[in-house]
């Protein structure tokens, strides 16, 4: 349901009635083929909100080319016809599909659901209201979102960075951070938006790629690049893309009065007030909850935080205040892409937990007739040529093309359709397959990327194997791109059909492969992430084996006292342990470690070995790695020699015990980034800033006369944690910035500890006399990550943390199917992020465990035993380790060798095929024979 909004949610968890208001689209989704002719003809141009108002669109439009559904819509507010009956109507005239419906009306739907997930997202802060930035006044002040569009190849300037005012190429651009974030004066958004530092760096780097001479400067308060590999990215930006970072809050933007240049006044690193001119100023605007989402929250009756985000807790980060309603994405606080994707899966896990009793209740199986075996039959090719209204027929001579197709080898039937994808054409094709006894089909129409699934289904319905269809892309890659050359386009269309016919003749029926699933889960690691994942899987009804190396559940959380929002960690961990221990679906293996593993998705066999040497074998369909991380033991700041220099974790213990040194101490110095963000450990440990700030607050609250200093490089109290930072400053905690080249000096001097540091504000060396120095130690990857990595062939990144399959869109998956990652094993993170990731991992694992079989695409490497001779050239080229060398005759080493492809591991990339000198291995559906046939056919005339 698109163009729809929720107005009310009635009922209780498990049985909600949701009222949805659907606005009219004025374009029939069933009929629209997204050809774009309506937009072409529409006379009304309006500002394009997708281009952040940098470009124009028409009144009938599709928001962006990748929109789902890819169906056009009419903007009733600007459409000439909808504003005035009888006027215009150009789109209706030009639409061959007859999809325009000016009489469309809105609808109200009532939906009965068991759970609701709220993911209304965010809007960017509008800087126009706070006049100081000149946004809306000076044309060359733009927002980061607008810059994003300017830098996009599909944006208004096709990636060229030019000034809106005069079209001049931009040579010098400034980014101002924290516009609409960390700012209670101008906008009231006190929180940190978390994502702007990173996106500003990315934009600066991208802009520089597009225009190499560009000078980029980023004005910031703290660089908050706390995400995985973000600090490395920042260092690269500084070094290789020459991005200049200036630590200064700029107060406003002015013009120089004579040109369109913009003037910034700021205090530079030397403490001098300077003025500098820029061609363009980019405002790194923050994230906020949009008004409609606030209304939604109100309608749904869920609580919001003071920052207007959905209220959640650290141990249930996707659960809103109302049972049965969950949330993910930036609605529950500013988040970047991987966190949002993780949150999405986590919400799904929470929903499945709630609704697991009714799993599969509403799903139905589609049945298809038995497949005809055509392997020995002479090919009988049917060619269906689509006119696509006038989209193809307007350029390509469809008659000539159809006639030509009849002459091609093995072609026995040719037909033209107005729209091959329409339902009646589908029925017709199905009928022709039976009637003409066709066993290979070519559809000359649009792109297989969008329409192949549809035609495959048609073949299945006609009792043909779905892989016996081939599409000739004569629209997207022909008629649309050679509009002015109908003759050349017609001759190209003939080539494309000829190629498709040649290829489909060589096509074989492929069977989708399915492997049975062992419906049990394995979780490695019994910390918060591991327990949360295990519990969620178990509550969804699956048996889970939880393997913990030590004799106690809880992991690193056993060292923690409070979450950033103040939840008491020991209590919550205690509850979690209880639930895990008492859940009869969870088998706990304490003092065990995984020592051997084999198998693949759906069918793993892991051997665990106990401290006493005993071994057990666990069969499982999916596995979650939640092995946590370790504390860094400092080598610096005389940690080993001075007793009162302690780590943050040690300090928590001492503080809790009200130890005498802590009790008597007056001066506390916290040193941040101990073991983080430097040479060989160029990553942020993410949790230490908040941790130190919290400790400082506690110390100050207890006794305001204490002096508490925090020596930091960037304070990274991201998101709503910013409130803690503010509170600490209010309480008089003194924050002193240092740079990597001027790390503090710590030396014992009798009863006190001297801490020397260069103060960048005062521009002089400071000497603090501390009674206690607390080192905010780094989170280090587990030393034995590499062992586990070898067992399951899981990649580990340069820092030693486990590497997810894709940093943005697959944040909990491993590239090895069926294995997932959660918690500190992946990267340092606070509890609520660990919990979310654990839920997400569970959710992803359950997508496998909930099925009795996993079906795999038929596009796989197939060994041709006649040609493969076991030379092993392809073994190491396989990115998935799916190829092994085996004896041709089992147990006969003299009988020669050949390769074996593990079908579950193979993804069908064909790198093996591209390496083989003898065609000994082929990708089903993309065989050497098929491709060669296509090449020959392309060049046959």
């Amino acid at each position: 349901m698109t163009l729809s909004e929720i107005t009310t949610i009635d009922g209780l968890a498990g049985n909600f009635t949701v009222t949805v208001e659907e606005a009219p689209r004025y374009v029939d989704q069933e009929k629209c083929i997204a050809c774009g002719d309506c937009t072409e003809k529409c006379p009304k141009e309006v500002v394009n909100e997708f281009d952040a108002e940098t470009g124009k669109r028409k009144a009938v439009y599709v928001k962006y080319p990748q929109a789902v559904p890819l169906k056009y819509q009419i903007d009733a507010d600007t459409c000439i016809r909808l504003q005035k009956t009888g006027a215009c109507g150009a789109c209706e005239e030009v639409c061959d599909a007859g999809a325009i419906n000016f009489d469309d009306v809105g609808r109200i739907h009532e939906v009965n659901v068991g759970a609701v997930v709220m993911a209304p997202g965010f809007e960017v802060f509008d800087p126009a209201d706070s006049g100081v930035w000149g946004y809306g006044t000076f044309p060359n002040v733009i927002t980061s979102l607008q810059l994003e569009r300017y830098l996009s190849a599909s944006g208004p300037t096709e990636g060229q960075l030019v000034r809106p005012s005069d079209g001049k190429v931009v040579n010098k651009v400034a980014f101002l951070q924290c516009i609409g974030s960390r700012d209670e004066n101008l906008c009231g958004n006190g929180y940190c938006s978390s994502v702007c530092c990173m996106y500003a760096i990315k934009e600066a780097v991208t802009a520089k790629v597009n225009s190499p001479g560009l000078q980029t400067s980023i004005f910031y308060m703290d660089m908050r690049t706390h995400g995985k590999e973000f600090d490395q990215y920042m260092e690269r930006a500084r070094e290789t893309s020459s991005v200049r970072f200036v630590r200064c809050r700029v107060n406003g933007v002015e013009t120089d009065g004579t040109s369109d240049d913009l003037r910034l006044s700021y205090v530079n690193e030397e403490g001098r007030q300077v003025e500098e001119l820029f061609d363009m100023v980019v405002l790194s605007v923050g994230l906020q909850t949009p008004k409609h989402a606030l209304e939604l929250a109100h309608n749904a009756g869920i609580k919001l935080t003071g920052d207007n985000f959905a209220a959640t807790t650290d141990f249930a980060p996707v659960q809103t205040s109302r049972e049965g309603i969950f949330t993910c994405g930036s609605f529950s606080g500013p988040k970047n892409i991987p966190q949002s994707v993780t949150g999405g899966s986590a919400a799904a896990a929470a929903v499945s937990d709630l609704l697991s009793p009714s799993r599969f209740e509403f799903s139905t199986d589609v049945s298809f007739p038995d497949e005809k075996d055509v392997s020995v039959d002479q090919p009988r090719v049917g060619v269906f040529v689509c006119r696509c209204g006038s989209n193809i027929a307007g350029v390509v001579d469809v008659e000539a093309l159809a006639e030509y197709s009849t002459l091609l080898p093995e072609v026995v039937y040719v037909e033209k359709n107005l729209f091959s994808c329409s339902q009646d054409s589908q029925d017709m094709i199905e009928e022709r397959i039976r009637e003409q006894n066709l066993n290979r089909i070519v559809i000359a129409a649009c792109s297989p990327r969008t329409h192949e699934p549809l035609f495959r289904k048609t073949l299945k319905a006609a009792g043909l194997n779905e892989y016996l269809v081939e599409m000739a892309n004569i629209r997207n890659q022909n008629s649309w791109v050679h509009i002015a050359e109908p003759e050349a386009a017609t001759s190209k269309a003939k080539d494309l059909v000829r190629m498709a016919v040649a290829r489909v003749i060589c096509s074989d029926s492929l069977k989708p492969i399915s492997v049975p699933v062992m419906q049990k889960g394995l979780v490695i690691g019994g910390g918060i992430a591991g327990m949360t994942a295990a519990l969620n899987m178990a509550e969804q009804g699956f048996e889970v084996h939880l393997v913990e190396r030590t004799d106690i559940l809880g992991g690193n959380a056993l060292n923690l006292k409070h979450t950033w929002s103040g939840q008491h960690v020991p209590t919550e961990v205690g509850k979690l342990v209880d639930k895990v221990v008492w859940n009869e679906k969870i088998v706990i293996h304490k003092e065990f470690e995984v020592t051997a593993a084999e198998g693949f998705v759906g069918n793993f066999r892991s051997t665990i070995t106990g401290k006493d040497g005993s071994q057990k074998t666990i069969e499982h369909g999916a596995g979650i790695v939640a092995t946590g991380a370790e504390q860094y033991i400092p080598q610096e700041y005389n940690y080993e020699s001075i007793t009162r220099v302690v780590t943050s974790v040690q300090f928590d213990k001492l503080y809790e015990l009200n130890e005498v040194h802590v009790r008597k101490a007056k001066n506390f110095v916290f040193i941040q980034c101990v073991g983080s963000r430097e040479e060989n450990n160029m990553y942020c440990s993410k949790v230490c800033c908040t941790h130190s700030v919290q400790s400082a607050i506690a110390l100050k609250k207890e006794n305001p006369n204490r002096n508490v200093y925090i020596l930091y490089r960037d304070i990274r109290t991201y998101g709503q944690r910013e409130a803690l930072y503010k509170q600490a400053r209010k309480l008089g905690v003194i924050f002193i910035n240092y740079e990597l080249h001027g790390k503090p000096n710590v030396a014992e001097n009798g009863q006190v500890i001297n801490v020397e540091i260069w103060d960048h504000v005062l521009h002089r060396l400071l000497r603090l006399e501390a009674d206690m120095v607390i080192l905010a130690i780094a989170v280090r990857p587990n030393g034995d990550a590499s062992t586990l990595s070898k067992l399951y062939k899981l990649p580990v990144d340069g820092d030693g943390f486990f590497q997810e399959a894709h940093s943005k869109i697959r944040p909990v998956d491993f590239s090895v199917d069926g294995m997932f990652v959660a918690g500190l094993a992946h990267y340092p993170k606070p509890i609520e992020e660990s919990v979310a990731q654990a839920l997400a991992a569970s959710s992803r694992a359950v997508t496998i465990l909930s099925k009795t079989k996993v079906s795999l695409d038929g596009v796989k490497a197939i060994v041709d035993e006649e040609y493969c001779d076991g030379c092993a050239l392809c073994v190491d080229v396989c990115p998935y380790d799916a190829i092994t060398l085996v004896d041709r005759v089992a147990d006969d080493p003299d009988g020669g060798k050949l390769i074996r492809v593990n079908q579950a591991q193979c993804k069908g990339c064909g790198i093996c095929q591209g390496s083989c000198p003898k065609r000994g291995v082929n990708i089903a559906g993309f065989t050497m024979k098929q491709i060669s046939a296509q090449i020959s056919a392309a060049l046959a005339v």
Partner: protein, 139 residues
């Protein structure tokens, strides 16, 4: 009649083929000389295909894959890159000009890059002339 080359372009399903589709949606116009063959990965392109195409009369061969680091299959495009360096050099061994082969990275969101690559390749092949145009074999 002017020389209209035939160029074979191997496009990866996940990026360049999608970019070519998107170029169509944007109605970007480009020379009609390219015949696209869709593959699952640029790493699937066997160098034999390049030689076969040229020997069967293709005037140029293009491989278009995902940007480095964005391969759908981890590192297939690195394989394509390693192979293409080799193929370009070996082309000379087999009597073809290196310019008859090109490798380009195009993401699914870069129809402009696709169009540019195809347009430039066509122009450069036109300048180069037909394959084997000047070295018809003496028998």
């Amino acid at each position: 009649m002017s020389f209209e080359p035939k160029i074979i372009a191997f496009c990866c399903n996940w990026c360049s083929y999608a970019a070519a589709d998107l170029a169509g949606i944007h109605r970007m116009q480009y020379p009609h000389n390219v015949r696209i063959i869709r593959l699952m990965c640029s790493g699937m392109v066997h160098p034999e295909f390049v030689m076969d195409a040229l020997s069967q009369g293709a005037d140029g061969v293009m491989v278009l894959g995902c940007h480095l680091g964005e391969c759908h299959y981890r590192d297939g495009n690195y394989r394509a890159m390693d192979r293409s360096d080799m193929v370009a050099e070996l082309l000379e061994d087999f009597g073809y000009e290196q310019e008859r082969f090109s490798l380009t990275w195009v993401s699914s969101q870069e129809p402009d890059k696709f169009v540019k690559a195809v347009t430039e390749m066509t122009a450069s092949i036109k300048e180069l002339g037909p394959v084997n145009g000047e070295q018809a074999e003496v028998v």
